[in-house]
């Protein structure tokens, strides 16, 4: 396996213990469908492009029917130790406050939560986490593609945490869009870059390439 | 009676299971069932003069007991005396 370490710091919540190396573990929560899955898969694919080890898991059952949709992404510099069903995680992206219980109950105290501005107020227990609110839907609407709000969140998450390169995120998004929807690529790219531009990188970065401190 | 024999058979009589399919299959009707059983007790076909070498018996036989020969020159009457038993 060739895996060039990316030395760029990655910001995240408190690390899970017992894994050896730090891993970024993230829940993406929202209402069923491809928006959530597209964010997760774009992040995972982008991380692969950045030569990271990656896991992408979904919680299945309702996601095809507009119910709850939870995506899980784990990124690390070494082969991952995380389980495919995370008992807990250190970061989250919240696109909706509905179905939040499954995610909120599993966030370690001090987690980083990136929330769509309009739903942030409805997320309980945010005082124990590091909440960043983003008017993603408004930004996307201004760009003329309200459906691209998830991509705004993706860009913002990437820029805030440095988890993946913005260009990698754009490329990862583009390669998933089916040929009959090519017209969405440009709009999605604008949304990702707008999201990235709308935030400033966080101060509490942690180096994924560092060994976990015992 | 003048009899023309154009062909003849080798019959592996001991493998015959006595089904008699060859008897009705034979166009010149020169096959008849034996009166005594073979090694396993089955009656088996016996050949009378007049075989044409048509292979009908061989084709219908489920037990592959027939081998068929055609004479280069037909044998007339009883001149095939050496093959008589």
């Amino acid at each position: 396996m060739s895996c060039t370490p990316n030395r760029k710091p990655v910001a995240l919540g408190p690390p899970a213990t017992g894994r050896g190396y730090l891993e970024l573990d993230l829940f993406i929560s929202g209402i069923g469908g491809q928006g959530i899955q597209l964010i997760g898969k774009s992040l995972a694919l982008a991380a692969i492009k950045d030569s990271r080890h990656v896991m992408l898991a979904g919680e299945y059952g309702g996601h095809m029917r507009g119910g709850s949709s939870i995506g899980t992404v784990v990124i690390g510099a070494k082969p991952l130790k995380a389980l495919p069903i995370l008992p807990h995680a250190g970061s989250a992206i919240a696109m909706s406050h509905l179905f939040w219980e499954r995610v909120g109950s599993r966030l370690r105290p001090g987690s980083f939560v990136l929330a769509e501005e309009t739903v942030a107020a409805d997320l309980p227990d945010m005082e124990q986490h590091r909440l960043v609110k983003l008017p993603a839907t408004a930004i996307a609407t201004e760009l003329g593609s309200r459906m691209a709000a998830g991509m705004v969140m993706l860009g913002a998450f990437a820029a805030l945490t440095g988890a993946v390169e913005i260009d990698s995120a754009v490329a990862a998004m583009a390669e998933q869009i089916p040929s009959y929807r090519r017209q969405h690529i440009e709009a999605n790219e604008r949304a990702i870059r707008a999201g990235a531009a709308s935030v400033t990188p966080m101060a509490f970065a942690v180096d994924l390439d560092a060994r976990e401190v015992a | 009676m003048r009899q023309v024999t154009r062909g003849t058979l080798v019959i592996d009589a001991d493998r015959c299971k006595g089904c008699e399919l060859c008897i009705v299959a034979c166009p010149p009707r020169v096959l008849t069932m034996s009166r005594t059983g073979n090694a396993t007790g089955y009656l088996y076909p016996e050949l009378a003069p007049g075989c044409t070498g048509c292979t009908a018996c061989q084709q219908v036989c489920p037990d592959f007991v027939f081998e068929v020969y055609k004479y280069h020159e037909p044998i007339v009457s009883g001149s095939d005396a050496e093959r008589m038993q």
Partner: protein, 358 residues
């Protein structure tokens, strides 16, 4: 190869094709459906064939035909589909046709099916139960290798978590020893030579070259399975040297248990884990050794108690064995339910250690 993001189904298919799989016939059934879809997509690009069989019975018999022709062949489904394949799996064992059967199970209720089988006769099926995608990539190669090496059916047993979780992988190739050519394969070229070939459960051979006949043939096959049992058992264990509590689990469950045990060790608990990698042959001697000195042996499996039989057969004191798993489905009945969760597993282990009073 560079890292690619794949779900387990795709990674298994890619690894199997790399390992020489050229024929697959299957029937859709969740969560094995994606395996069939990837096979259909990818095999034609490798001079292979994927057929959408009309039934699981038809599919496995097609695979038997392709394998009889000397090609690496497989079928797959989940437990109910494998139930339909049992006659053919037994047939493959008894007529010595190497095939691989992928069971992307909905849960862990196919343990008896895989290790005891539902076909007739004295046979066994080597069963590989990978814990995650990376091990699945290895097992997909190993399965075909073992099938060919011993001329036996091999069951690859995953689950929906394995099938659907996506991970980055380079699809590393195992360094497996070369195998002898398949001098038994039916390529059609031996007719009329007096040395025509035969694949036949009754082992009677040809008139000019009689085989041993059914009794001796099946006796030899039974002996072959005994020999496999001697050398092919695989397992993984951790912290068993001083463990007071040993937790036994397989497949995805084994990965979860390992994770929990590591966490608990970090917190000072004298816990160890044992994971049979092959469900048959069961790594019984290793388990017996690992369980020496333990005060309790806990079995975590998502069923009403199946592997626990093998654990009881093999631990040094069967009275120490206790089930901590159970039937666990989500509301759709298709997926692993709430028990496949590190938090729940830890609670159950702690409850077993400290008793209900805690």
């Amino acid at each position: 190869m560079t890292m690619r993001l794949m779900d387990g189904s795709e990674a298994i298919v890619e690894a199997a094709i790399q390992a020489g799989l050229r024929f697959y016939a299957g029937y859709p059934m969740s969560p094995a459906t994606e395996l069939l879809e990837y096979m259909a997509e990818k095999l034609p690009h490798h001079e292979g064939v994927c057929i959408n069989a009309a039934t699981e019975i038809e599919g496995i018999n097609m695979a038997l035909g392709a394998a009889a022709g000397g090609f690496r062949a497989a079928s797959g489904s989940c437990g109910q589909g494998l139930a339909l394949m049992q006659e053919a799996i037994a047939e493959a064992a008894l007529n010595e046709t190497p095939i691989v059967i992928f069971n992307m199970a909905r849960n862990q209720q196919d343990y008896f099916q895989a290790t005891r089988g539902g076909g007739w006769g004295d046979y066994r099926t080597i069963t590989l139960a990978p814990k995650d995608l990376h091990e699945a990539v290895e097992h997909a190669q190993l399965a075909f290798h073992l099938a060919d090496k011993y001329r036996v059916p091999v069951i690859f047993m995953g689950d929906n978590l394995l099938a659907r979780t996506q991970m980055g992988t380079t699809l590393p190739q195992l360094d497996l020893a070369p195998l002898p050519p398949k001098d038994w394969q039916l390529d059609g070229t031996s007719g009329g030579t007096g040395k025509s070939r035969q694949i036949w459960t009754f082992g009677c051979g040809k008139t000019n070259d009689p085989g041993p006949g059914p009794s001796k043939h099946w006796e030899r096959i039974a002996a072959k399975f005994d020999a496999i049992a001697e050398v092919e058992a695989r397992y993984e264990e951790g912290f068993t040297d001083d463990a007071e509590t040993l937790v036994v689990a397989f497949g995805s469950g084994g990965k979860f248990v390992e994770h929990v045990v590591r966490e608990m060790r970090a917190d000072g608990h004298k816990v160890g884990y044992f994971r049979p990698v092959t469900l048959w042959p069961y790594p019984g001697e290793a388990l017996e050794r690992a369980s020496q000195g333990c005060k309790r042996v806990l079995v975590f499996e998502l069923n009403a108690g199946q592997m626990i039989d093998d654990v009881r057969l093999n631990v040094h004191d069967r009275k120490l064995v206790k089930a901590i798993g159970g039937v666990s489905f989500d509301e759709s009945g298709l997926n692993l339910g709430p028990l496949m969760d590190a938090t729940v597993i830890r609670e159950r282990i702690e409850l077993a250690i400290h008793g209900a009073s805690k």
